[in-house]
């Protein structure tokens, strides 16, 4: 995957670039908005990691110019701590996702992956199928191996979110944002407790667990190899 990284802080830049290269991506790094804009308009990238605050052309301006120029590469915007307004502005300017510094690398990797690979092809628009699990988003029904499973609304949303991204790691904060619409991290185990209930219902009478816990990163829907 071709990734463009625009970040002015050298330590953060090296940290992200090293992680992305270790994960097997090709990384082009820029330390200024100008350089980033030249690179980004020069060729197509699979994803762009863009810092919000940059010397010269800042992240928001760069993003607007890029979008105005017809470049639609998914953009993951990075911002400093404590900027509720930044988040809104960033998403309004055309960022596809937003990550607040500091972050664990696994969080960035998971979000980048979620951005770049479009969801798996669906059988029907409202039916999600992964392995022996079938979720009907319209009827809000769940079946495992043809067996009907009754879920609470949040458990259903949680499963649907994982099913929409099969094989991809969904981090705790991604799930909090997408399932609960929380943009903060509660100190309690909301995600964990809901997941364990969900698992208990899904796995009742089955040997294998369709949801995999990726230690230190998040959860993932298993897909057949």
């Amino acid at each position: 995957m071709q990734v463009l990284l625009v970040e002015d802080d050298s330590e953060t830049r090296d940290f992200i670039a090293r992680g992305l290269r270790e994960a097997g991506h090709q990384v082009t790094v820029c330390s200024t908005g100008q350089a980033g804009l030249i690179e980004a308009t020069g060729r197509d990238f699979d994803a762009i990691v863009l810092d919000r605050m940059l010397p010269g052309i800042d992240g928001l301006a760069l993003l607007r110019m890029l979008r105005a120029g017809g470049r639609h590469a998914p953009v993951l915007m990075l911002t400093a701590l404590g900027s509720i307004a930044d988040r809104v502005e960033g998403l309004e300017s055309g960022a596809d996702d937003y990550l607040v510094k500091p972050f664990a690398f696994s969080e960035l990797a998971a979000r980048l992956q979620a951005l770049t690979r479009r969801p798996a092809v669906r059988v029907e628009t409202h039916r999600l199928v992964v392995g022996d699990l079938v979720v009907d988003e319209l009827r809000r029904s769940v079946e495992r191996a043809g067996q009907r499973i009754v879920l609470q609304p949040r458990e259903f949303s949680l499963l649907a979110e994982l099913m929409r991204n099969p094989g991809r790691i969904m981090t705790r904060t991604m799930l909090l944002e997408r399932v609960w619409d929380f943009d903060f991290d509660p100190k309690t185990n909301i995600v964990e407790t809901h997941l364990s209930r969900l698992r208990a219902k899904l796995n009742d009478g089955f040997e294998d667990d369709p949801i995999e816990t990726v230690r230190g990163a998040g959860y993932r829907m298993r897909i057949a190899d």
């Binding site: 701590l81 404590g82 900027s83 509720i84 809104v88 943009d183 903060f184 509660p186 909301i190 407790t193």
Partner: protein, 448 residues
Amino acid sequence: MRRIWQSTTGVVAVIGILLALATLAIGATVHELAHEALEEQLDHRIGAETRSLLAEAIRGGTPAVAELIARREAAAAASGLAYLLVDASGQPLAGSLDAAMPAQPGYVEHLRHDRGQREAQALTSRLPDGSRLLVAADRAAIDDTDRAIRQVTAYAFGSLLLLGIAAAWAVGAITRARLHGIDRTALAIIGGDLSQRMPVDGSGSEFDRVSITLNRMLDRIASLLDNLREVSGNVAHDLRTPLTRLTNRLEVARTASEPGLHIDAALAQSRELLDTFAALLRISEVESQAVRRHFALLSLSRLVSEVVEAYRPDFAASGHRLLMAVAPEISVNGDRHLLQQLVANLLDNALRHTPAGTTVRVALEVRGGEAALAIIDDGPGVLPDVLPRLFQRFSTGDSSRSSGGHGLGLALVAAIAVAHHGAVTAQSSAGLSVSVSMPIRSDGDQDR
């Protein structure tokens, strides 16, 4: 350019000049009225005298008039009237008035007499035998009065003008002196000495009142600054401990046989520190009230229910009872994520600081025109001395901090409530009860 007429001196000077000009106008009017009245009075007197002499002429002819004139002149010069009687050929018959007989009968305003040196007001009449009678009154009285009025007016005008200028100077000087005191204090405060206060002399003057208000403002700023200083002190203090632990961990990791374990622990510690920073920054951001820009109408009832439902499994897992009584369709103008965090922090707090078996009740209702959210537990509560500081940064109910949390959750709750034009209060009798109130909004409300 300085507009001098807008300064205090200028305003008072203008008022002084206007007053002086008004005095001048009044003087001129009085002069005119008095002049007219005196002239009329003289006319009246000479008219009456002429009538009585004419009556004498009808009774006894011209010689009788001449005799009467002679008698009058001999008797009383005090009457102030002078006479001249000439026959048809112009020969004087009686009277001592030294003036030329006017050719035509009637009133003359300014008749020269006394060898042309004085002026008189006079009435000329023709007697039946063709002789002419002139009765005159000297105008000296009128002229004297006129002069006196002119003089008084001039004095009044002059002194008012001087008074106005003096007042302008004095008021300006006093104002400048008083303002200079305020100015000097303000400059000292700009210079960094916030202990300075505006001079107050206890006179109750408008300057004093302004000074008192300014001083109250300064007291408020000083107390806010003190608060800020205390908070930054607390921040420094509260961050030193985990930073020390972090440093120690890393020191140990350098020489440990299995550094990975220690590095993991250090990492966890540094994440905790970053969480604390994030929480602090979030509080500052909410307190700055820039977040109000993104407020929108939302259903607080639904929001509270959703957050409570999200926490239900956690409460069940830790052996707490969670009861909810949410009145439907309560809407507020606010930020969805902040309000979610407010409710979540209160639930976190209840869950974390109460033992298993505790019942936590969440109630949302309309009380006194406001949305009232209450989170009430029957746990151990907090000590009375902790209660007032509960919503300040880094004030955890239990001083040991053993139950985790960075002591910022409730501070953020308070900041969010205030950003929503609301308030938060806490009571601790049996268990802790935290109440948040904020104005409700309906769809019809206009944006403020």
